[in-house]
Symmetry: C2
Subunit: 446 residues, 2 copies
């Protein structure tokens, strides 16, 4: 039972509290809706810095922000921790892991999940890096592989444990490759004096012929040059075919032994039970110029989960970036206010305005593009730091991130090298098992 308080306001349900969902919440703060945010976590995560959690530079809590804290003191703004299980447009109803809820307007903003392109071996064993929980898992796995490398029986196994293979040369792949190359250079020799660090090799594999496919070719070349100089083996134009027996097999038949197999080469939209004819490229839900799901009156989709072909500048859909999500949320908030007052004609179509893209490679190294300006090196790196610090929620988190960055920069350290798992209490495990049984079929009859 999702237990929303009775109200005579119109109900907006937002599924997902990423950049899109959160921005929408904030824009609807002084509106005349009852707004409920539904997310499977109780915190917003600052996606662009997840790779720094994985590489032991930041604590999860520095880039995660409690939804309840954000909603403090805001009337008619509610939060429910639950997972969406099904959408039933005829009944204006959704089913979640904790029960049903009715809506006047439903906004899907559930983002994307890692895409394994149907390869089950890879899905079962690769380490994704899509959220904070993945990132902590990756950190734990890398550190525990290093520990085992100290004591394993054969040179072959030691190579497997020390090699790191990163699949996917987008911003995430480039950033984690850079961070791990610095860890290899500055941390491993002093932490593991018994290991010969040249036994460790970091591979970055990309299917296309360049890194950072979404950026300018000069930025791609700069990223490749920097990473190579930092000791990363960049392999371009090569597909990963399989992963088995602790080895990655490439399309050309060659293999790389590794137990640290990081998969950041693609995402697909978080799946729903909406009919297949509404789904476009990358599993994304097709929306019109107002982010309205095609053929639906009161169901919208924003951010990475949607595909809009109505923006003249982006006929193939927008890139899946935080900026697009934030701008769509802002536009949708304005449109929902019009719509709820019966002024459907006053709704404005969405137009994306590109404020630029950036990726960081390492200490003093980044690439940035804003309009026709493209720069790299120290200046780009400082821009990157400043922009990210500005966009992190909350004074406490900004201070924590700044403190950690300063500390890590001055000491060349990554302080959070702890292999740490939370013990799951029986009462929580049992509840999760119960809630996992809330399946679609049970609902359709409801």
């Amino acid at each position: 039972m999702i237990n929303l308080p009775e109200t005579n306001k119109k109900r907006v349900l937002i599924i997902g509290g990423g950049f899109a969902g959160l921005k929408l919440m904030r824009e609807l703060e002084h509106s005349d809706f009852q707004v409920t945010l539904i997310d499977k976590n109780n915190y917003h995560q600052f996606q662009p810095l997840i790779y720094q959690v994985a590489s032991a530079g930041l604590e999860p809590s520095a880039i995660a922000f409690s939804f309840r804290k954000l909603l403090r003191g805001k009337h008619h703004m509610l939060f429910r921790m639950a997972e969406l299980r099904g959408i039933y447009p005829e009944q204006n109803m959704i089913q979640t892991s904790i029960g049903k809820a009715h809506y006047d307007y439903l906004v899907l903003a559930a983002g994307t999940v890692t895409n394994f392109y149907g390869n089950r071996d890879v899905e079962a064993t690769a380490i994704p890096m899509k959220n904070v929980s993945d990132a902590m898992g990756l950190r734990n796995a890398l550190l525990s592989n290093f520990e085992r490398a100290m004591t394993c029986a054969t040179a072959e196994e030691r190579r497997e444990l020390l090699n790191i293979v990163i699949v996917g040369g987008g911003a995430t792949g480039v950033e984690i490759a850079g961070a791990l190359a610095e860890m290899k250079r500055f941390i491993l020799p002093s932490d593991y004096p018994e290991l010969r660090c040249n036994e460790m090799q970091i591979y970055l594999i990309e299917g296309q012929d360049r890194l950072l496919g979404g950026m300018d070719k000069r930025s791609s070349a700069e990223a490749e040059r920097s990473l190579t100089r930092m000791g990363v083996k960049v392999i371009l134009g090569e597909q990963v075919k399989d992963y088995s027996n602790h080895a990655v097999t490439l399309a050309d038949g060659s293999t790389i032994p590794t137990q640290s197999f990081i998969w950041v080469c693609g995402v697909k939209a978080t799946p729903t039970n909406l009919p297949a004819n509404l789904i476009g490229r990358g599993g994304r839900i097709q929306v019109d110029a107002f982010n309205r799901v095609q053929g639906m009156d009161n169901i919208f989709c924003i951010g990475d989960q949607c595909l809009m072909s109505a923006d003249p500048a982006y006929p193939g859909g927008h890139p899946q970036l935080a900026q697009v999500a934030i701008q769509q949320a802002r536009q949708l908030a304005a449109n929902l206010k019009q719509l709820s007052q019966g002024k459907e004609q006053a709704m404005k179509p969405f137009r994306y305005s590109n404020h630029g893209v950036m990726a960081t490679i390492g200490r003093n190294r980044a690439v940035a593009e804003v309009g026709k300006f493209k720069w790299h090196g120290w200046a780009a790196w400082v821009t990157w730091l400043t922009v990210h610090l500005m966009f992190i929620l909350g004074v406490r988190n900004k201070m924590l991130v700044f403190f950690n960055w300063l500390w890590n920069y001055l000491t060349y350290d990554r302080s959070i090298r702890l292999i740490l798992y939370a013990r799951k209490a029986t009462v929580v495990r049992e509840r999760e098992e119960r809630e996992a049984k809330v399946h679609l079929p049970d609902v359709a009859q409801a």
Copy 2:
């Protein structure tokens, strides 16, 4: 294979990197031994602040410190992440989860584990708070219980989800009860405006007739008075009989419904395969005045895991406190240096010198005793803060803890209200399963 480098130095193996093991490591730094620390975690944890991790006031990384970082640049000081499985004194050998190791001197410093006094219902469901992993699990469980309380179907279930029962009125129980009472007062009303917080009740149950049994009666009375004023229901002289169907049953037959059942009412020494005649009260290993395990030449035990009746002031053994552990480690380091030079007569028996005990209850409230001086309130609280800040390892951790304390004090906030689990990578899970199969029987034949 534990893979220790060849050496002509004498080998000291230390099992456990708590206060005792870590102090011993540091004291042996400039000695003529090859010293290897073996711990199942890759970090030292600062036990006295674990309750603050559980109550969302501190991040795990603020009170955990990487062993490898501590051992940086120190020759002949090694670390292995492994669990002890068996001790074979005739062969001067131990078996661990990752293989065998030989020693010249073996020092057990593995501390204690939670004692469930044989009650399997309690063991299966109670939430312990012995280490960082437990504390994160407790934090996750509490927050997730609050989330569910928003949406559960019945008032009965809501009461179960909101009630918190803490069993054990020692320092840990008092400290967590105080921290949760403050959370109830300052955090819950604003985070969960839909809940009526008076539905939430915190119980602290103690079998003896007073809290803080190890301290002076006036301190006990002060703790009880403060907690009661803060809204905690303190129940003294009452035993918990069982926990089933989300309810605690007391010895008098009454029940308290709760899904947050925290068990901090006792510890027992970490078990080993040493013969039963060497084991005393609380599962502790009996040692002589030099911390030598009775009847053994070169096996020692220090800290909470040992029981020494040779100290004239403590014929029943020492209290299980950090101070005892640290002092024993210091004495043992000196004695080992003498012993290894054949000067067994020069070894000095251990005498515990009590520097005082403290417990914090909440904002501006603590109790402290040093010798004949006993004080409480603000002054005791400041003493507590200062002493703990001094004893935390590392400048970065001191700064982080100080920043978090200051922030929490000024804002009345507990910022880390995140329900957060690390995803366990397949490769790590498989390795753990393999290592769990390293059993004692396999070894005895070796």
